[in-house]
């Protein structure tokens, strides 16, 4: 069963943002990693790349599926989770602990367009 973490903001395409000050940690939800199965590769942007809310910034691949990563918020990439390069399965182990990119938020108001955990839970149940 998928777990849900409160305190994060979620998108319909199953990405989350954990906000810490002016930064946001973006990853995929536990529900998403369950749906994908064994993750074998994470395609990530480079530091200093710009990401735009609603647009793809990378992809997560399992053996039989590939899923584009859609940025839930806009901003500049300040860090990518390099551990995922060698151990993409970390996303299966703990999707919430293993964020994918850290961005400097360019428009925090965008967070209001995202769901809280209750709304997201309902979204997944549908």
């Amino acid at each position: 069963m998928a777990t849900f973490e409160s305190g994060l903001r979620y998108s319909e395409s199953h990405e989350y943002v954990r906000v810490e000050g002016e930064f946001g940690y973006i990853g995929i939800s536990d529900y998403a990693q369950h749906a994908l199965g064994n993750v074998v590769y994470v395609d990530m942007p480079e530091v200093d790349d710009e990401v735009t809310a609603g647009e793809e910034f990378g992809a997560v691949e399992s053996v039989k599926a590939a899923s584009d990563l859609i940025a839930p918020v806009s901003g500049t990439v300040v860090e990518v989770n390099e551990a995922l390069e060698d151990e993409p399965e970390l996303l299966n182990k703990d999707a919430f602990a293993n964020w994918i990119i850290k961005v400097q938020l360019s428009d925090p108001a965008e967070l209001d367009n995202l769901m809280d955990v209750e709304a997201y839970k309902a979204h997944c149940e549908n």
Partner: protein, 462 residues
Amino acid sequence: MNNNQTTRQPLPSLTGGVGGGSFKYFPHTSEDLQEMLQACGVSSVHDLFADVPEAARFQRDYNLPDALSETDLRLFFEQLTSPLATQQLICFAGAGCYDHYAPSVVQNLIERSEFLTSYTPYQAEISQGTLHYIFEYQSMIAELTGLDISNASMYDGATATAEAVMMAWSNAKKATRVLVSETLDPKVRRVVDTYAHFHGVPLQLIPAKDGALDRDALDRELSEGGVAGVIVQQPNYYGIVEDYTGVAEKVHEQKGIFVINANPSDLAILKTPGEWGADVAVGEGQSLGIPMTFGGPGVGFMACTEKLIRKMPGRIVGQTLDNRGQRCFVLTLQAREQHIRRQKATSNICSNQSLMALYVTIYLSLMGKEGLREVAEMSYAGAHTLCDKLIATGHFRLTFPDKPFFNEFCLDYDGDLDALLAEATECGYLAGVKVGEKTLMLAVTEQRTPEEIEELCEILNK
């Protein structure tokens, strides 16, 4: 084919025109048909098409010949291959298709039905034969090209090159164009142009100077930036072995990729794409054991650096273990491909030229390290000998003097080239390919005997 046709009446039948047991590829007897139709709850096979609108139904006979018996079929094709209809010429032509020797074993093993009649190896448990040889093929191509990764093969050298152009384009973030050398085979360039036009890749042609890429022109283009990739050929279209020293570094400075279209047979001797610093090598593998067969099927190869593995189009076979702990092979990295990524796939290709890759694999297994070198030496020696002798006739001169060539070269002729070639054809020789008003391009492989070289020189000494 009228003279070979036998006229037969359509077979009578109770089941709507489809007779039972009437043809060697159809096993259905009248009895079978009745039982099966009954199980389906219909009385005629045509009832199974009741959902096809009347206006779309095909209600007449095809305008095709009557069926030929196997005997007649053979006769028909024997007639088409008689010397009058299809002439076997002694081949001094190349231009992307070469008359090389292949040990008899190659064709014999290719025809094994387990290889020939199987599908794409999606069911790994019963496809280890195919997966295994593709893994060997990939290893051999990687070794020849000096690169890390090879895909499982593609349609032909031209489309593989076009795929490389699209790969360079999708790999680049802020590029404005891909540079293509004018010394790339014009047939390949036409395919590249076609793909690029529709895919929306701006191409920039870098002109040739004395039969080789104009390095000053290349440097000028590169200095303007925005280059997603540079595509060159080695040996180039005219047979010249070009010096690409320093190109890779300049392309890499702007994060572009350097693509070399190579003839894999020559890579026994020539500096590898990997050694030139290329990121991608592509080309036509026909020269590795595949008969010419009027230009197809051949096999396109593509190899790349480890870094680009997920950008590479086409199938890839990887090693893994089964649940019994045995080493085995499987199609891998499929998340790049069309059946998963649909319109976001790295390419629309969803097959390879598997059987042609098997030709290459068996050929290279037999020829091995020494054999391929010997082929290259013989071809090189033959071409240079022929070149010397033709120049000595006084009617020919090198089109691009002082440029090193491998086993193909261009000569300018001082007379009527068309007439000369026609005369050679009369004598049973394909004396090369006309590549300019006065320019003849000749290729020599290890198949050409000293006698044939001598005779061709006599014929061309006009």
